[in-house]
Every structure is written in C-alpha cells, then in structure tokens.
C-alpha cells in the first residue's frame, strides 16, 4: 500500500473510477440522444457527487476541474447551454485528466505540483462554455492566442531587465533548470482573501529579477480603491519549471510561466527595437571577446578532426568533438545551429567519419561566414526557431490519452454485488461439507465392500480435494475480508471531540489496524466499539486534575488493539482511568433490583464487574449525551453475541479497565464438536467448548439434586444432556464406568454436559432453523453432514 493511503482514500479512488466510467458512458449516450433530460440529470449527479467526494481530500487540482465540469453540467441540465460535441470532448478530456490524477494518487499518494497548470487550463476551457460567462467569446479568442502572446510580452519585456541580470540569467540558462519568465496577475479581490501578492512574488524560488506594473492607468486619488488589486508582477527565475509550478500551485490561473531561451536573453541586450527579438540570433549578440574564444574553440576542434586517428578511436573522438561543439553552441544560445550540429553528429557517427562535422564547422566556423546553405538545409528538418522548452500550444497539452488507450496500469478493483460473494461462500461451504463425505465413503468401501485398496485410494484423493477446497475457502474468505482499520479510523476524531467536550486530555493509541476479518463481522463491530470507547471516555478517564492528584500523567491513554488469535479476532480497549469499583457496581445493581441482598455479600469482584453487562444497568450519575443513556453495556454484549463473539472485562480500581472482544474471523463455516447421546448426534459450537473429559462415576458428587465434579481445582456443575433436551434415557457410561463430559463455557461459568459419547470435530455450515421448528431455542441451527444426515447444533446459552 502506498504510504498515506487510508481506506477512505482507497474507497474514494475505487468509487471515482466508477464515476468516471459512468460519466464517460453517459456522455457517449448523450451523443446519440442529446436532448434526453434524464441522461443530463444523471450525468450532472455523477459529476456533482464525484466533486463532492474529491472535496474530502486536499486535491485542489481535481476539485477545481470537477467544479468547472459541475457548473457546466448544471447549465446544460438547465438548458442554458446547448449540448455540443465540443462540450463532450472537453468534458471527456477533463475526466481523463481526473482519471490520470487518480492513478497518480494511487501510485504516489498525492498529486504532483505539475498538474496545477493543466488543471487550470481544463477548468478554464470548461468555464468558457458556461452560459453567461463574461465575454466568453473574447476570452476564448484570448486563450487561443495566449501561447504566443505570452512569448511576445516576455521577449518585449526582457528589454526592461537590467543588463547585469540578463547576463547572469544567460549564464544560468545553460543549466538544466533553464530560465523562466513569470507573469503573475493576482485577482482583484485577492487582498480580501488575505493574500499578499508582493510577498508571494518576493518568495519566488531562485528569483533573478522582478518588477511591478499597474494593469490600468491610475484614477485620481479620490477615486482610488486601494483594496482592489490592479498590479501585475513580472519575474525572471532560474528555478526549474516544476518548482515554480509547485510554488504557484494555488493560483495557476493567475500565473503564466514561460521558458526563456538563452538566446532571447542576450538578443534583447541590443538597443531596444531589435527586430524579432525571439528569433535566435545568438552569435551576433556575443561580445567580441566571446566571439574570438568561440572561433578559437572551433578551430581546435577542426584541428582535432583533421588529425590522423587509429580506427578504434574514431568513434570516441567524434563523440568528444561533438560534445565540445554542442557545449559551445549551447552556451552561445544559437538554437538553429544546435539542431544542425545534432544532425551532423548523427551522420558522422553513422558513417564513422569526421567529414560531416568538418562540413558543419565549415558552415559555422566563425561568423559572419556562418549560416551557409547546407546547414540551413539540415536545420530545416527540425522546426526552426523552436525554443528548447517550447511554450506549446495549450490545446496540445490538454490532450491526455483517452482511457481506452491507457495501458492497464495499477491495481484495478472490482466491485461485486454482496449477493454474489454470499453465493460463493455458500457454495464453498457445500463443497467443504461434501468433500467430508469422502472419508465415509472410504470407510464403507473397506467395511461394507471389503475393498481395502479402493478405500486407500479414496483417502488419497480426499487428501488432494481437501487441500484444494481449504485453499479455495481461504481465497473466498479473503474476498470478503476487511481490515479493522475500517472501523478504527473513526476513533481519532471521536476521541478528540468527546474528550474536548468533557475537558479531558486523552491520547488514543491504535494498534493492529491491518488485522482482517469478515466484512459482516467488521460492520457489526462499529457500534459496540464506539460505545465502549465512549464509556471509557465518560466513566474511565478522569479529569486532568484528578489524574494529577492520583499521580498519573494528566493525559489519559486509550489503547485499541486488534490482533488475530487462531480463528478469532481479538479487540482490546484499554484505558488507564479510574477503573470499575466493584462496590459501586454492586450497590447500583442492588438499587436497580438486579441482585438481591445475599448477592451483595456473595459476589466476587470479578462477578460484580461483569454486572455492567446486565441489562438495564448504567452507572452514570448524570445522564449525558455521551454515555449513560440507559442503553448500557448489555447492548454491546448483545451486538457482539449476535456475531458469535464474546466479551470480557478486566478492571482494577485506580489503574484502568480493559474490555476484550473476541470475534470469529468469519461466520460462514462453524466448527462444531460432535457428541452423541441416546443414539442421536448433536453439535456444539467449538467456541464455547472448554474441554472434553471422562469422569469416573465415583468422582461425581451429588449436592441436593444437582451433580458436580471437581475439574482442575474448579467445581463444575454437571448436567445430563438427555434431561436438558427432554430425552428419557439415562446417561450411558463406558466399559470403565466413566461418563463422557463436554465442558462448555457460558459467560464465565463452566458447565459439564454429560453425554453418551464424544465424537470428532467438523466444519459445518450452520443454517438457521426455520418454519415450525424455529421456536426451538435450544438449537442454534442445523447442518448437513457429509454422510447426508442432519446435525442439530446446540445453543449452549439457551440450553442452561
């Protein structure tokens, strides 16, 4: 994952692609039915939503273009602007641009500065189509010619730049970054937006020179509005284009950056009024000393070319001479000569001969004899007068590849209907169950038909199918897996807001956000977690003064940690607040009639703490809008249990509280323990099974009418499953007089279920019981076994 890529951003990107696709599709349909108002509305809504979404992030470039597209579509929808092919083109261009930005965000995590200019141009091109845009036609015309206009003004204004600065600039022009001319026209209202254009201009990176002019003649002082900006800033900078774009990225529409060819810098050194200052005329502009040096350099290179040379060295020497000449020519700013030289170099290298370079030198040797016909002819192949960094026609730069032509880059996410995934999950479940039929078949082959060989082969095949099925199950589960970060990301804001409201200082620590679990589980997790965290904030963490008095740091800490333990996700919410006082809990529970007087004495601290999960329990002294609305932890418990999760709380007075949620990774396949009693088989979900033991009859004590046994130093009540289910038969012991006991967990209580026989564990798909049997709460569902029989899965909670 790219750094800075939050799940929210990922979701945005995936949705944005859908929207872009939808927009493209609708535009195409509009081509056929340009008057369909419904299509228009859909199109507008798509653009509108996409713009709204993009506003959630700091993607000014994207939002700007989308905003322009939105206003345009609004006008089209309202019939103020007619739909046209041109409009569709521009809209598609804009959407391609947005798509490109999305790709970049996915790759880099942010939008590069270089797009500000494109964004401004695209937005402008869309805005020009909007009805009632002031002077739409003239603006369009202005923009058409703007490329040239800028170049002309730049060249003309270069004459204003002091000579010393221009010499310096010329020196810098040879560097990789080049020299740029910047025209900055702040909007008239900019002062009201708190902008200081002069400050902005002064901060221009690598500023060489700058000047300020008024955009219009000044009125008399009495009429002057000092707060309407009518200044224009012009600058010369040696910073690279990208850096300038970055610096002016928030005002791309007010700034025009033009590359200045080195030649132009020197060309305008002549007296004002030199004809066509843009055309490269470099060598004339060199001072005599420079011309002499240039001539000397050329002469030396010519001498080198004419020296005899060993065949193996020829290429290297040609390259060296070409490099030297290129350097000289570039320094002199003679662009035309540069193209000619490049052609001559290529020919020379291809022919492995010095002749083409010598010929070029003959042509260019020393002015004024240069500029002979052959060189001009060579140069004609390249467009003459093109500066090294052309301020290209704006339309050309707007053309981004249409999506269809794009190389399939980046990860494409596929949005799938939840129902399809559910179907896959069900199917793989069936598959798991039916593959479980193979061992039965192998058993039958051996016992019924007596073919041991076949039985072995079936088992071997089973192993293969088993492996594939398990892998497939993993893969399908992974499709619907989501990181818990999806739920966690709302907490920083929540904690911040609530702690501020309560005047508490809280640091939130999130850990293990990339732990994954099934989507349904993750979605069920949100509300319980919010509730627990609210409780921690409201009841757990003390006010800063109280904390200081207790010798704790003023800022409390809430840690939310997710981790995976076997096939469960464990989420811990730990605070270092005042903890839960069992005495207070007991008293409250007594006041609310949840426990009686005898319980007050009897309950252990841990049991008392668990009372917070009892329904109708809320300890808040004052009912606030944060926590303590009467819906307490019992709601949390119910929500967690709905997804077969469990909940536990540890608390130490003065030290803090820790709530631990344990949830299954997935709900599709349930692992059950199979037991047999009175000739029937039953399943017990594995997450409530503690252990299976065989207890000798003599170890069972009967207290009043209940039976109990001591297991691992703990007294466990024993209940025959037959009597719980209303089966008449008595429990059967094995040959050694031992009873099979399945110890199950019910909250914090352990109960031993006496069964006839313990079987193995199996993966089953639990189907809820429907119809007339739905009322049987002792069962949580039924499952189909590999041998075709139906297994009833017990509901431990209801059974007790």
């Amino acid at each position: 994952m790219t750094p800075g890529m939050t799940p929210l951003l990922q979701q945005f990107l995936s949705e944005a692609r859908d929207f872009l696709e939808g927009i493209g599709e609708k535009v195409m349909q509009l081509e056929d039915r340009p008057d369909d108002p419904e299509l228009m509305t859909v199109l507008f809504r798509l653009v509108h939503t996409l713009k709204g979404n993009s506003g959630l992030f700091e993607f000014r470039e994207m939002t700007r273009v989308l905003h322009a597209a939105e206003s345009l579509m609004d006008d089209v929808r309202g019939g103020r602007v007619a739909y046209s092919k041109e409009l569709a083109d521009r809209l598609l261009d804009a959407m391609d641009f947005v798509g490109k930005l999305c790709d970049e965000i996915e790759r880099e995590g942010h939008i590069g500065a270089g797009h500000a200019v494109d964004s401004a141009r695209l937005a402008e091109s869309l805005e020009r189509l909007v009805a009632g845009a002031p002077g739409a036609a003239s603006e369009a015309a202005a923009a058409e010619g703007s490329g040239h206009a800028v170049r002309d003004t730049a060249a003309a204004s270069l004459a204003e730049v002091p000579e010393a600065v221009r010499r310096d600039a010329h020196r810098r022009a040879g560097e990789a970054s080049g020299v740029h001319w910047i025209d900055y026209c702040p909007v008239e209202e900019c002062y009201f937006a708190g902008e200081d254009p002069l400050f902005q201009a002064r901060g221009t990176p690598d500023l060489l020179w700058g000047s300020i002019t008024a955009r219009q003649p000044w009125p008399s002082l009495a009429e002057l509005d000092a707060y309407r900006c009518v200044l224009a800033f012009r600058m010369l900078s040696a910073a690279p284009r990208a850096e300038l774009d970055e610096y002016y990225r928030y005002m791309p529409d007010q700034v025009r950056v033009t590359a200045v060819p080195a030649a132009a810098l020197l060309a305008s050194l002549g007296p004002p009024g030199v004809p066509d200052p843009v055309a490269p005329r470099a060598p004339d502009a060199l001072v005599p000393a420079e011309l002499a040096a240039l001539a000397a350099l050329f002469a030396v290179q010519r001498a080198i070319l004419n020296l005899p040379v060993a065949p193996g060295w020829q290429l290297g020497r040609l390259e060296a001479v070409a490099a030297a000449l290129t350097g000289c020519v570039r320094a002199s700013g003679d662009v035309v000569a540069l193209t000619g030289l490049a052609a001559a170099t290529a020919t020379a290298l291809a022919e492995r001969a010095s002749a083409p370079l010598v010929a070029w030198l003959d042509g260019h040797g020393v002015p004024p004899e240069r500029a002979s016909a052959p060189v001009r002819a060579a140069a004609a192949s390249a467009p003459p007068g093109e500066p090294p960094r052309p301020a290209a026609d704006p339309d050309l730069e707007i053309k981004f590849g249409r999506r269809a032509e794009d190389q399939a880059g980046g990860t494409r996410s596929l949005k799938v209907d939840q129902a399809k995934i559910d179907r896959l999950v069900n199917l793989i479940g069936e598959m798991v169950v039916s593959k479980n039929a193979l061992p039965y078949l192998a058993g039958r082959a051996e016992t019924v038909f007596g073919v041991r060989e076949l039985s072995r082969e079936i088992k071997a095949q089973y192993a293969v199918i088993n492996r594939i099925a398990e892998e497939m199950q993993d893969a399908i589960m992974a499709v619907s897996m989501m990181p818990v970060a999806f739920v966690f990301q709302r907490f920083p804001r929540l904690v911040r807001d609530i702690s501020r409201k309560l005047g508490k200082e809280v640091t939130l620590v999130l850990q293990g956000e990339d732990t994954e679990a099934d989507k349904t589980i993750i979605e069920c997790l949100g509300d319980p977690l919010v509730h627990i965290v609210r409780n921690s904030l409201g009841h757990g963490i003390e006010q800063p003064e109280a904390r200081r008095a207790a010798g704790k740091p003023a800022a409390g800490t809430i840690t939310i940690r997710a981790s995976q333990a076997a096939d469960r996700v464990v989420i811990e919410i730990r605070d270092d607040g005042r903890g839960i006082d069992p005495m207070i809990i007991k008293r409250k529970a007594y006041e609310r009639g949840l426990i009686d007087e005898s319980d007050l004495e009897r309950l252990t601290d841990q049991e008392a703490v668990n009372l917070i999960f009892a329904s109708g329990f809320s300890t808040a002294e004052v009912v606030s809008d944060l926590s303590g609305r009467g819906v307490g932890m019992d709601v949390v418990r119910a929500a967690v249990e709905k997804v077969h999760g469990s909940l536990a709380v540890d608390s130490e007075v003065g030290k803090g509280t820790c709530v631990r949620l344990s949830l299954p990774l997935s709900m599709a396949v349930t692992r059950v323990m199979i037991v047999e009693s009175d000739g029937q088989r039953f399943g017990m979900p594995m997450d409530c099974v503690v252990e299976t033991v065989r207890v000798p009859r003599c170890a069972i004590h009967t207290v009043k009418h209940s039976q109990a046994a001591v297991l691992r130093g703990r007294t466990v009540p024993l209940k025959p499953i037959n009597s719980l289910l209303g089966l008449g038969a008595a429990p059967r012991a094995n040959a050694d007089g031992e009873l099979a006991v399945l110890v199950v967990r019910q909250g914090d209580d352990w109960v031993g279920l006496i069964v006839d026989e313990l079987r193995d564990a199996a993966d089953v798909i639990l189907k809820p019981i429907t119809g007339v049997l739905a009322g049987l709460s002792a069962y949580s569902g039924s499952a189909l076994m590999g041998d075709g029989s139906v297994l009833m899965v017990l509901n431990a909670k209801e059974l007790m």
């Binding site: 002062y191 200081d196 254009p197 002069l198 400050f199 201009a201 002064r202 020179w209 700058g210 000047s211 300020i212 002019t213 008024a214 000044w218 009125p219 002082l221 009495a222 002057l224 000092a226 707060y227 900006c229 009518v230 200044l231």
Partner: protein
C-alpha cells in the same frame, strides 16, 4: 511597525500591513508633495504600494533591503 506621519514626510518602518493603505491614501490626498521615506521598510503590503503608485509619490529614500528596493523601484521610479 507602521507608518509615521509628519508634516511633510511619511516614514515607513518594518512591515507595513494592509490596514495602513487607507490612512496612507488619506494622508497623501492632503500632502501631495509629501516625501516618502522607505529606508526602514522591510516589506509593505501591495495595497500601500498601489496608493503610492497612484499618488505618484516622491520617494525620498529607498528601502535598504535590496530585494524590496528592486520591486519598489520598478513600480515607483519615475521615468
């Protein structure tokens, strides 16, 4: 850090904010020949600059800050 007004001159000190433009405009309307001393000025908001430009104010002393001086001279130096 503000503009100090005298009978016949305004002395700019430090960084001149946007709020100074109105009083400056008023002062220049009353003192058309007033001299402007920018030598201690480090930066001024362009609203002030506009006022100086529109008033064709006489600059008595340019900023000692050479960067600022370049900008202001380009705008205020009388041809």
């Amino acid at each position: 850090m503000t503009i100090e007004y005298d009978d016949d001159q305004a002395v700019f000190r430090g960084v001149i904010g946007v709020d100074e433009a109105e009083p400056l405009l008023a002062w220049l309307q009353g003192h058309a020949a007033g001299r402007i001393d920018l030598s201690a000025c480090r930066h001024l908001h362009p609203a002030n600059l506009q006022v100086l430009m529109a008033a064709r104010a006489t600059i008595h002393a340019w900023p000692t800050d050479s960067g600022l001086a370049m900008w202001l001279e380009s705008a205020l130096r009388q041809p």
